[in-house]
């Protein structure tokens, strides 16, 4: 008599636990949204992939159409080979453009596909030839500084030829800048 009551309670307990785990997987986790159907693999070479990671989303027009399957390194060309898997339902032309974008200012990085105009479509094992690297913030800043520095160098060259203009040059903000 006592035993059946305990059985019932333990049954409720285990059912609650299973329901909680299922709820975690479905409602909290991404079990449902993570599953893409059948996929085909396409590779693309990038000079710099920044912080791209395996399983990062592949988006086209903002819609997730696949995921990054694998990231490798080609020791001959010194390029990163990114293999992406794309949902079979979506076909892209051969001249599709692959970019690496950043979600938000400092967010995660993802691969963006911009469809081209060709009639032939990408098949499994094909290679995307047109790629654009990830934007590396440090690189951009150093390029900016470099271009500023060359500007001021040019100013100084102009100053040397015409001493009358040099005083005007000094008075500009850029002339006093440390770069």
């Amino acid at each position: 008599m006592e035993r059946t009551k305990i059985d019932l309670w333990v049954g409720i307990f285990v059912a609650l636990g299973a329901a909680a785990l299922l709820g975690l997987a479905m409602k909290v986790g991404n079990l449902t949204s993570n599953t893409i159907g059948e996929t085909y693999h396409v590779s693309a070479a990038f000079e710099n992939i920044g912080g791209l990671k395996p399983n990062a989303p592949v988006k086209s027009a903002g819609v997730v159409v696949g995921r990054v399957a694998e990231i490798g390194f080609d020791p001959k060309t010194y390029e990163a080979i990114v293999t992406i898997k794309i949902d079979k339902r979506y076909e892209f032309p051969k001249d599709t453009f692959a970019n690496i974008y950043t979600a938000g200012l400092l967010g995660e990085q993802y691969v963006g596909l911009e469809a081209g105009g060709e009639d032939d479509v990408l098949k499994s094992g094909d290679k995307i030839t047109q790629t654009q690297d990830a934007i590396v913030l440090e690189k951009m800043i150093s390029q900016f500084l470099y271009s500023k520095a060359s500007e001021t160098e040019a100013d100084k060259g102009a100053e040397a030829t015409s001493p009358a203009a040099s005083k005007e040059g000094k008075s500009t903000e850029l002339g006093d800048a440390p770069f």
């Binding site: 305990i6 333990v10 307990f13 636990g17 986790g29 079990l31």
Partner: protein, 267 residues
Amino acid sequence: MINLIINKISRLLSGIGHRMIARIWRLGAGARLFMLAIIYSGESFKRFHLTLREIYFTGVMSLLIIIVSAFFVGMVLALQGYNTLQKYGSSEAIGVLVALALVRELGPVVTALLFAGRAGTAITAEIGLMKTTEQLSAMEMMAVNPIARVVAPRFWAGVISMPILASLFSMVGVLGGYLVAVPLIGVDEGAFWSQMQANVDVRADIINGVIKSVVFGVACTMIALFEGFDAPPTAEGVSHATTRTVVISSLTVLGLDFVLTSFMLVV
């Protein structure tokens, strides 16, 4: 004078050594009990009602404390998280914060701490008293192996109950966080759930949390069982053993948590 100092130092050193040896002896005995419990666990599955009864006492009876504390932990996480996140204009990320904190850490750890206090002490006191009143010896006299009859069912009950309790804790905590974030504070409901789903990974976060809780279940139950088995058969001995169960279980859980987390994040 010098003799006296040398005497004192040597007594101090021998005291430390004595304690160390006692600890190591207890560790070895605990490991042996663990092995014995696994070897003799066949009976706890053959006569499953023994284990069921223990699941009832350790798991089902802990439901109330787990659910209520999970609810409040989730609510306070949402409040605190919102307070900081809205300074950075990303209050929608509150769902991610609550879910990740619960699933990865707070679910398994707080459940294990509560379990040690709620069920571990009960196990220790019960077995300690069984030993004090010579019930264990009586079983041996009747050719009943007390490890198969008493220890193994309790061990498996703890190991089964802990992941169930931990996943309940996480789920109820997320619901508590939802209750504070969405109806009370007014975070957008869609953003709350979708950001959570985008950032909580089933394998890396949820399954790892379950693995953690299984390990904590083994550790907490084993410590409670061993302390009860090892308790001196006096009222004072049982009370000390019960205290030690809580202290050692809590420290072990927190230490193990660090080790497991470092493994999971690196691998």
